[in-house]
Amino acid sequence: MHSSPSRFTLARLAPAFALACLNPTNATAAELPKNATPVLAAMRAELAHSTTAFTSQSQPPYFLSYEITENRRVSVNSSFGALMASTENTTRVLDIDLRVGSPALDNTHAIRGNFGGGGPTGSGATSIPVDDSPEAIRATLWYQTDRRFKSAVEQFTRVKTNVQVKIEEEDKSADFCAEPAHTYAEAPVTFSVDRRALEERVRRFTAPFSAHKNIYSADASLTIGVETRWYANTEGTLVQTSQPTCRIVISAVTKADDGMVLPRFETYFAFRPEQLPSDAHVLADVKKIIADLEALRTAPIVDPYTGPAILSGRAAGVFFHEVFGHRIEGHRQKRADEGQTFKKMLGQKLLPETFNVYCDPARPKYGTTELGGHYLYDNQGVKAQRVPLIESGVFTGFLMARIPIDGFPTSNGHGRKATGASVVSRQSNLIVETTKPVSPAVLKEELRKLVVAQQKPYGLLFDDIQGGFAITGRTSPNAFNVQPIMVYRIFPDGREELVRGADFIGTPLSAFSKITAADNAPDIFNGVCGAESGWVPVSAVSPSLLLSQVEVQKKEKSQERLPILSAPAGKS
């Protein structure tokens, strides 16, 4: 599995060794794993061919990797029971990481002083043939490698100048780190679906909305696909993985009489179509969505409030993803324009000691639910691994790509990206656990006690959320915003009342300090996360959490009036 240490590794051990040179023999020497398709062989061959040619250059690359991503996907959408879109396609795209200079300083080094802080930016993915023809694949690899080499040399010149004219950097870690070589290949998953049957199915999911005149949009999408990835680099890593994924997303929107837009979402994730929920299950949820929307339309608006609250498991998962997860992505500790909330807090207590938090991409399931943030190798060919983040309440580490930071010289398998973007460290399956869970009933009882103790009229229960966002930069306040959809007021007498129009806001450290207890019913949010390296699938797992204090602000409200005419009467 492991290749012999390259000169690259030496360069890391002895930073004074400035010019590491690429050694093409590693790539060609690596033996193709069983199940490897001709794509992997073509990548290996072109790595050797191109790098050999570059040895004539004054500044040859010290590292080169190819990643080819194939997506076979069928996607169908419906609205109010009618088919809106039905697509089926196969694409393969190529991403190249080519580095000149040395691991200590290379062309990916962030240029300071530019808007947005510089840093690696994707140069876009290129289409590459879907037939397994080595000649055609190599023709594209060759041409794109040449282009990437020339832009890398140009960029490296800019980097060197920038380093000289700016003040010394706070974080002196290298731009790249060595990683052991891996060879691994799983057979590509075969893919065949009956698109007509899927179309029928997705129509059924939104048909029940048609009878409800106050629902202004009702959409469902059903996507079934397989992503097959081939990765090869000059260190000798050769990886081929093939991962099927299936998603159903239902969304519907109503408006209150005052114009407030009120959405409801439901998503389902599974690796294989047969593991998706049954139609009966989905339609039962649709019925619930309709009832929730009707209730939300007439629910009272909540006023700005501070006081105790419970975040349901899914809401708490998103809360951790936004408030904590994005701030412990390693590369953010290095950029001069990032807030770096947790950078100096290693070894400090962030949560009660009953809490453990970790990311584990290698884990495909939590209980019986499949996790969308699962993978075996990240986008830099590094093996997925469990990364402890908070142990017994104490902050222990960062999510790392092959972008070293002070004290964290290597990757822990979290270098991720969408095709066409450059890798940064990203979350995978973020899991929050507690060693002293209480039952949901006890958690609610604790909330009521807090309401009474704090002399508040009520507490809040954030039951379902739409998503959220976090600002991690320095130029704006380091706030987060979690957008709940189903929020209940819990009165001291135990009465519950649905309200609308509340956004849960705050700053990370103060919000964390308010977490006091968790229940024993963890829930899972399977979603996609967007950041500078594009959209990647992630999951967040958490029990319901009790916070002694939260703050809510009024939701942004549309100024559009309701439709002038009522919904047309059906004639069919």
Binding site: D131, A136, P563, P568, G570, K571
Partner: protein, 581 residues
């Protein structure tokens, strides 16, 4: 009444081609039934008519105006495409979609919400996706919500526009909307979906030709097929159903000269069906020729700068006409502009420049031996197919031949229902939001054959005592993926030259590469000395719409050609792996 008269005259004009006769039998006669009674069976048309009627009758915000005109245009497209590179498939795509474009006008035809550019605000028609299913309820629901949105935008725009006009004197007061007689039309030219596997096999085979061209760095072959069906109704009672089907095949190839200058070329073929694409042997030959052309460019010489006579032949003549002159044949009203507060001198300043041809109506724009006709009724010219044929435009206006230039003088412009100075009525040219040509036919009286044209060029060289002249044979077309000039179009209105030769007084030719046509503009065409006899037919996307241009070769008395300026990337360091053996 209008409908009957119109249909019969169309039948007469369309009877010429065999294909049209067949079509007339199968489509046009039943079309009557479809347009009248058949409407009732088409749930989409029924939903459109019902929601349009309800909106005209009831849609009104208190104290604000009702719409005086509403139109729905429902466009559905079924697209298929495949691509291949170096003998290997690049992927395939199949998609269908249906959208509605809604126009709601409030005010009066003299002054309504259109022809107005609000600051930071959408001003055009409102669009939305519609279900692909012919589901009356689901479609009507979407039409209801979208009409609501369009109406609210329109009343807001009209009040803003009136506010802007309160403080301004208009130098030119034209109505916003012209009257149009009722018409009901059916023009169905459907096509069978292509067999994607078969298309992919063809694309692979054609693209594999480049395995014989070591001089070509990158290449691709793309085959697409699109069927478009449009349904239209408006509150005046006009309606149409129209469909068309086209198959396109594009091959492109690119490389660099040894000095790094980028070189490329393309072929583009259009057909009305898979079966009427040229035979495979011909397609293979044309792709081989493309490979040879690009390879030959690598060893052609550069031209520092040239001032003198230039002969545009064949494709180059059609492209230079389409790129430089044809855009000026479209009449677009100049919108009223909302200035953003500070507003300076208040008028005249911002906004798109006015089409200079608006001031040329009745005046000479070409030498007097030229006639230019836009003829959407033609399906072929001298036996070669044309692809701009269309019976009704996007506003439901029946199309007709329009003489744009007669004996060098500009007679009219292509217009929508938005009047411009000198063109008060629609010419039935509205496509995809703007008036565009369909089949633009350029003819020159006393045109010469190719040999005589070259002789004219040589004669000019002698008169001027020039060492050599230039013949341009192919011009880039950026929408077809070529034109890899390092400086883009530069300041020129024309794309870069792909194939050209130096011609010496003894008739000898020497290939040239990387040339820009500098400073060419519409007035340059007044200096054309003589033109060819036979037009070259070039079918290309023009502002997103497939148009056919039939243009004879053109001999310009004096043009400037030069090599592109700017930085040029070096050629690849490694050799192409396939040829590096």
């Amino acid at each position: 009444m209008t409908f009957m008269k119109f249909t019969s005259s169309r039948l007469a004009s369309r009877g010429r081609s065999l294909r049209r006769v067949v079509l007339a039998l199968v489509a046009v006669l039943p079309a009557l039934a479809f347009a009248m009674a058949g409407d009732a069976q088409d749930p989409v048309m029924r939903a459109m008519r019902d929601e349009l009627a309800r909106s005209m009758a009831q849609l009104q915000l208190e104290n604000l105006e009702k719409p005086y005109f509403i139109s729905y245009r429902v466009q559905e497209a079924r697209s298929q495409s495949v691509a291949a590179q170096f003998g290997s498939a690049l992927g395939r795509n199949e998609s269908r979609n249906r959208i509605v474009v809604i126009e709601v006008r409030v005010g009066t035809p003299a002054l309504d919400n259109t022809n107005f550019q609000a600051a930071g605000f959408g001003s055009g028609p409102i669009g939305a996706n519609l279900p692909m299913d012919d589901d009356y309820d689901a479609i009507r629901r979407q039409l209801w919500l979208t009409t609501d949105r369009a109406y609210k935008q329109s009343v807001e725009l009209l009040s803003k526009k009136k506010a802007v006009l309160q403080n301004k004197t208009r130098t030119e007061v034209l109505p916003d909307f012209s009257a149009q007689p009722l018409s009901t039309l059916t023009d169905l030219n459907p096509g069978a979906p292509i067999d994607l596997a078969q298309a992919e096999t063809l694309a692979r085979e054609l693209s594999a030709v480049f395995r014989e061209s070591p001089g070509v760095a990158t290449s691709s072959v793309r085959i697409g097929a699109t069927e478009e069906t449009t349904r239209y109704v408006n509150s005046e009672g006009s309606s149409f159903v129209r469909s068309s089907f086209l198959v396109t095949l594009r091959a492109s190839a690119a490389t660099q000269a040894d000095d790094g200058f980028p070189l490329d070329d393309h072929t583009f073929t259009v057909a009305r069906s898979w079966a009427t694409l040229p035979p495979k042997a011909d397609l293979l030959a044309s792709v081989r020729d493309l490979g040879r052309r690009v390879t030959a460019q690598r060893t052609a010489s550069l031209l520092e700068q040239y001032n003198g006579p230039v002969l545009f032949e064949g494709q180059a003549a059609a492209e230079i006409f389409a790129q430089v002159i044809a855009p000026n044949f479209s009449a677009r009203p100049r919108p009223v502009l909302e200035t953003s507060g500070r507003g300076g001198r208040g008028g005249g300043g911002g906004g798109p420049a006015e089409n200079p041809f608006l001031d040329k109506l009745g005046a000479r724009v070409l030498p007097d031996f030229f006639t230019v006709i836009d003829d959407p009724t033609l399906t072929s010219l001298n036996g070669a197919p044309l692809f701009g044929e269309n019976r009704v435009d996007d506003e439901g206006v029946p199309t007709r031949p329009v003489t744009l230039v007669e004996k060098g003088r500009l007679k009219t412009l292509l217009a929508s229902r938005a009047p411009v100075r000198g063109v008060p009525r629609s010419t039935g040219s509205m496509q995809d939001g703007t008036p565009v040509p369909s089949n633009l036919i350029v003819t020159a009286a006393d045109g010469l054959d190719a040999a005589a044209l070259k002789a004219e060029l040589l004669k000019l060289l002698e008169q001027r005592g020039k060492d050599y002249g230039v013949i341009v044979r192919r011009l880039a077309n950026s929408t077809l993926g070529s034109g890899a000039s390092p400086s883009g179009r530069g300041n020129s209105r024309a794309e870069s030259v792909l194939v050209a030769v130096k011609v010496f007084p003894d008739g000898r030719e020497e290939p040239l590469r990387n040339i820009e046509v500098a400073g060419i503009d519409p007035p340059s065409f007044k200096d054309i000395l003589v033109a060819g006899r036979e037009p070259f037919i070039s079918t290309v996307p023009f502002q997103g719409v497939i148009c056919s241009f039939a243009v004879p070769s053109l001999l310009f008395e004096d043009l400037t050609l030069k090599k592109p300026s700017g930085e040029i990337g070096k050629p690849p360091i490694a050799k192409h792996p396939f040829f590096d053996r």
